[in-house]
Structure formats: structure tokens, C-alpha cells
């Protein structure tokens, strides 16, 4: 991950020898027939379950009728998109999606980096391992259980209100003004430890001689952290930040679907939850497919933009 990653790189086709393209291909197919036999089910899987829906997304441009199918339904062009852009929910959905995403970027993204830096400062290994074991744990708890605990602890008569010692308990889960804090906060609680693993792995690859050199030059622990550890994990930070940008518009909707209720839609309803309600619950397929496609396209555009900007500024990029 330090330089451009080969795994994500698009390598130019091999220069073919003079023998001729078809001869080369048939020789390759014969020599690697078992390899292609292995690749076949995997490629079929991707074609059906990933490229199939990409093709199926054309219903966003149709007035899709399940009986008539993708081919038989009426073509309506950009009508569904226009309906979405002019709908009363458009502004609220975009704002909520971006607000939750930006809050998560500001608080959720740096949290594992800070935790990794702090864990790295620990000198006594058993304690270090204990901190890691404990903080990784919540990552393995299901989102249903986490939200179940939120609902319980943040209820009007729940543990949090009991501890607040106020005469005026708050029904947090029913308050739109608390939704984002609870969403982002519980996300950090659950994943901060897990997220730190990547950075700890990156820290482990830093050459220890750099620290020795810094000590000889009189750098204290803060300076070592700032001038050696942080630059050492910067490529990892940049790569993860680019990937994060590609998910800017797809906040954790599975958790939101569990957490929100009509009382909190005002701040909690995001593009993907709206797609779920309109598409799956109300079977309004074409319209919700259009909203979903809009979301995918924006995500993809953000990813490409972030990658391009990063390549220019930091020399680190996905491709």
C-alpha cells in the first residue's frame, strides 16, 4: 500500500510475440485450462451478481413493470431522476447523507489513528495486548445487538438517563437532534479498535533505526511521534481516506434502518434508507432504482476525484 498498489493496477496487455494473437491465446487456454476452469465460477458469480444488477439498473430509465420485465417496460428517459430532484425530500436526503458522512469523517476517521498512536506509546506489552483485545471486541457484535443496546440504554427510563441525574429525562432515540451523535458515537465505540489494526500494522513496518536516529538528535516522544510515526503511516491514511471518499454518499444504512423511526426521519433519513423504503417496502422499483443509481454515480465520481487529487498532492493513489 506504500506505493501504487499492483493489485488495483490496470496493467497493459502483454506484448504478443509474432506467432499471432489467436495462436497465443489458444496455447494459453490449453496450458492454463485448469486455471481458467477455476476462474470460471468466480467470473460467472461476478457477472451475474455484480454486473447483472448494473445492467438491471436500466430500469431507472423505465417505468418498470415486473410482469413486462426489463425489456418490455416503457422507456421514460430521465423522468425518474427529474421526479427525485424535484421531490420535497431531495434536499433533506442529500443534507442528511452528507451531514452524517462528514461528522463520521471528522470524528470517526481520525479516532482509530489516534488510538493506534496511543497504543504504540505503551511500553508494557501485556497491557498493550489487553487494550487491543478489549477494543477489538465490539467489532464482532452484530449491528442488531448494538442498536438494541442503544435503544435500551438511551431510552427515556434507560441507563443513560438514570446516570444523568436530571429531573428531565430525554428520549434520545426519538429525538432528531440526537440521532447523528448517537449514530457516529456508537460507530466509533464499535469500530475504533478494529480500525486501529491497520495503522498498527503500518507502524510495525517503520524502520526502528529512524527512532534511534531521532533520539540521538534529541527528539522527545512527541517529536518522534510527529516526525517519524505519523509520516510512516501517512500512505495508509491517504489510501483509506480515498476509499472513504468513495463511500461518502453510502453511510451505514443497515444501522440507520434499525435506529431510525418516523420521529427521527428529519435528521436520520438518508438516500439509501429512502431507496429501501420506496423500493423494497413500497415496491416503487424504477424510482428507487434511479435514486440508487444517482447515489452510486456520485460515490464513483467522488472516488475518482479523491484519487486524482491525492495523486497530485501526495504521490499516493489507488491506481
Amino acid at each position: 500500500m506504500r506505493t501504487a498498489t499492483t493489485s488495483l493496477e490496470i496493467v497493459a496487455p502483454l506484448p504478443l510475440p509474432k506467432r499471432g494473437r489467436w495462436q497465443t491465446i489458444s496455447r494459453d487456454l490449453r496450458r492454463n485450462k485448469h486455471v481458467y476452469l477455476m476462474l470460471l465460477p468466480v467470473l460467472l458469480y461476478y457477472l451475474i451478481f455484480h454486473y447483472g444488477p448494473m445492467y438491471g439498473a436500466v430500469i431507472a430509465f423505465e417505468d418498470f413493470n415486473p410482469v413486462k420485465g426489463v425489456f418490455g417496460s416503457k422507456w421514460v428517459g430521465l423522468q425518474n431522476f427529474q421526479d427525485f430532484f424535484s421531490s420535497v425530500y431531495f434536499g433533506r436526503l442529500i443534507f442528511n447523507t452528507v451531514a452524517i458522512s462528514v461528522l463520521d469523517l471528522i470524528f470517526g476517521f481520525p479516532a482509530p489513528i489516534i488510538l493506534a498512536l496511543l497504543i504504540n506509546e505503551l511500553r508494557w506489552n501485556p497491557f498493550k495486548r489487553l487494550v487491543q483485545t478489549v477494543t477489538y471486541l465490539p467489532h464482532f457484535i452484530s449491528v442488531v445487538v448494538v442498536v438494541g443496546m442503544l435503544v435500551d440504554f438511551f431510552a427515556r427510563d434507560g441507563l443513560v438517563n438514570q446516570l444523568m441525574l436530571t429531573t428531565d429525562p430525554v428520549a434520545y432515540m426519538q429525538s432528531p437532534e440526537w440521532f447523528r451523535q448517537l449514530f457516529v458515537g456508537s460507530g466509533i465505540w464499535q469500530h475504533v479498535g478494529w480500525g486501529s489494526i491497520v495503522y498498527l500494522a503500518a507502524i510495525a513496518t517503520i524502520d526502528p533505526q529512524l527512532y534511534d536516529a531521532a533520539k540521538v538528535d534529541g527528539a522527545d516522544r512527541f517529536r518522534q511521534m510527529w516526525h517519524i510515526t505519523v509520516p510512516g503511516i501517512l500512505p495508509t491514511i491517504v489510501i483509506l481516506l480515498i476509499l472513504r471518499m468513495g463511500m461518502m454518499m453510502s453511510v451505514g444504512y443497515e444501522k440507520i434502518i434499525l435506529m431510525y423511526n418516523p420521529l427521527t426521519y428529519e435528521t436520520a433519513d438518508v438516500i439509501s434508507t429512502y431507496v429501501f423504503r420506496r423500493g423494497i417496502l413500497q415496491a416503487d422499483f424504477s424510482f428507487s432504482a434511479a435514486v440508487g443509481l444517482f447515489n452510486s454515480v456520485i460515490n464513483f465520481a467522488l472516488l475518482i476525484a479523491a484519487n486524482r487529487i491525492s495523486r497530485r498532492l501526495t504521490e499516493h493513489s489507488l491506481w
Partner: protein, 304 residues
Amino acid sequence: MVAAALRPKRIRLRESRGERLFGFGTVVFLIALMGVTIYPLLYVLFASLSSASELTQHRGLLFAPLSLTFEAYRRVLENPLILTGYRNTLFIVVVGTALNVFMTALGAYALSRRNVLFRNPAMFLIVFTMFFSGGLIPTYLLVGQTLHLQNTLWALIVPGAVQTLNLIIMRTAFQSVPVALEEAARIDGANDWTILFRIYLPLSWPVVAVMILFYGVAHWNSFFSALVFIRERELYPLQLVLREILISSNVQNMATDVSSGDVLAIGETIKYATIIVATLPILLVYPYLQRYFVKGVAIGAIKE
């Protein structure tokens, strides 16, 4: 030991007061963080073992069960929905993970070959899906209607047969297997299937363990595809049952023999016991698998 003796001695300088204070502050902060992380789970455990009536009277934190009782667990384990949920989830975890690991190994092996002509186009086709998708609705129509998997457990297994990130992790692991072993096997007449199953998979066991863990936990915890595809309650996986009990507060069928006032009280302990029953299997295997998954994440991250 030998390596430790050969390693040059690390330089240690006397630390300034500010540094020692920082070190102390770090330890205090991390202890507090561990408390915040683990206490909610301990509270759930203590509350699940408490008597329902005493728990409703109690205010504030719990540091031990209030009059230890297994009443809530008895009611949870007698709930037929929990049992069918467990059965369905076990099926999904076992069959799903087996399919996942098999398919991921096939793909990772094929894509780790150096002299395969169509490797790079195939890799591009696969990696592209990480960044762009057709969206929820077309997937729903394809799986549920075109392929008629609606209301079957296969809808929760087949559409996620390969996770691209795991494929890349496994491919990276396969690329570090020494070529000499493979060449020796080929001279002995081994084909690619033998090489994959007799050399690559056994040699990459830690990564295979990581795959089993990642896929297995994901199946155990997944609820969304069940929410989308499953209507029949006999087919509900555990997490969908949990959602009803925890979030929709549907505990009536586990508290039929008590008066309506007590339903609320016993309902609370039932919720806590349900959380423990559904989470315990994962928490029990977790400590044994920790060293594996740390390795797995590291491989996934440092894929030069």
C-alpha cells in the same frame, strides 16, 4: 531468542517530565476507554441474570446480578423462534462460509498465477465492482424475482459468495508461496487443482483461518439481506429474530404466563438474555482467533 540477541540494542534515554506525564495520561485514557468499551456488555450480562422485579426498581450501574436467576434464559431458550433462528443461522454460517472459502480460494489462486493471459482483465472486472454497483433495487429484483430465491436461505448465501477484499487478501497470501514447491509438484505430475488444495491452502492456513472468521462472523451478524428477502418467520435467521425482540420490543410470546404489568419487567431481562445468547458464541471463539485476524488485516493493508 537468537534473533533478539542479534538485534542491535535500542537506545533508551531518560525521559523528561512532560514525557512521563504523557505516558501516564495515555495509560489512564486507555484504561477509561477499555471501561467504556466493556462495561455496556457487562451491564447486559449482569442484567440478564437479575430478577426482573428487582431490575425495574434498580437505578444506575450494575456491578453484579441482582438476586441471580436464570429465569430470562429459560424463557429465551423456550422460544421456538430463537431455536429456528439459531438453526437457520447455523445453516447459513456453515454452508455460506464453506462456499465463500471455496470460491475465494479458486479466484485467488487463478488471479495469483503470473503466466495467465486473461489475468489482468479478470482482475479489473472484479476490482471494479468494489467501486461501482448497480444498487439495491436491481439486486433485489435479480435475486428475488429473476432467480426466484425470494424466501429461501440461498438468497442470503449465493449473492455474497465472494467478497472482493477477501479475494485480494487471499491472492496476496498465495503470491508469497515459494514457486519452487509448485515446480517440484508439477514435475511429479500435479495439476493446478492438486497444487491449490495440497500446497497453497495448507501453506496459507493462517489466512484461510482469517477467511473463515471474516465470512463466518459476517454471516452470523448479517440481518439486512434477510430483512429484504425473507418473509416466512420459520426462515428468519437469528439476527432478524433479535431485531423483533430488541428493537420492536416484541417479547409477548415469551411472557404469556405473566400479567401485563410484569411483561414489561420480564421483557427487559428477556432482551438482555437474548443479547447474550446471540453474542456468546462469537465472544467465546474470539480470543482464540485474535492472532489470526490481526495477521489477516495486516496482509490486506500492506498489499504492495
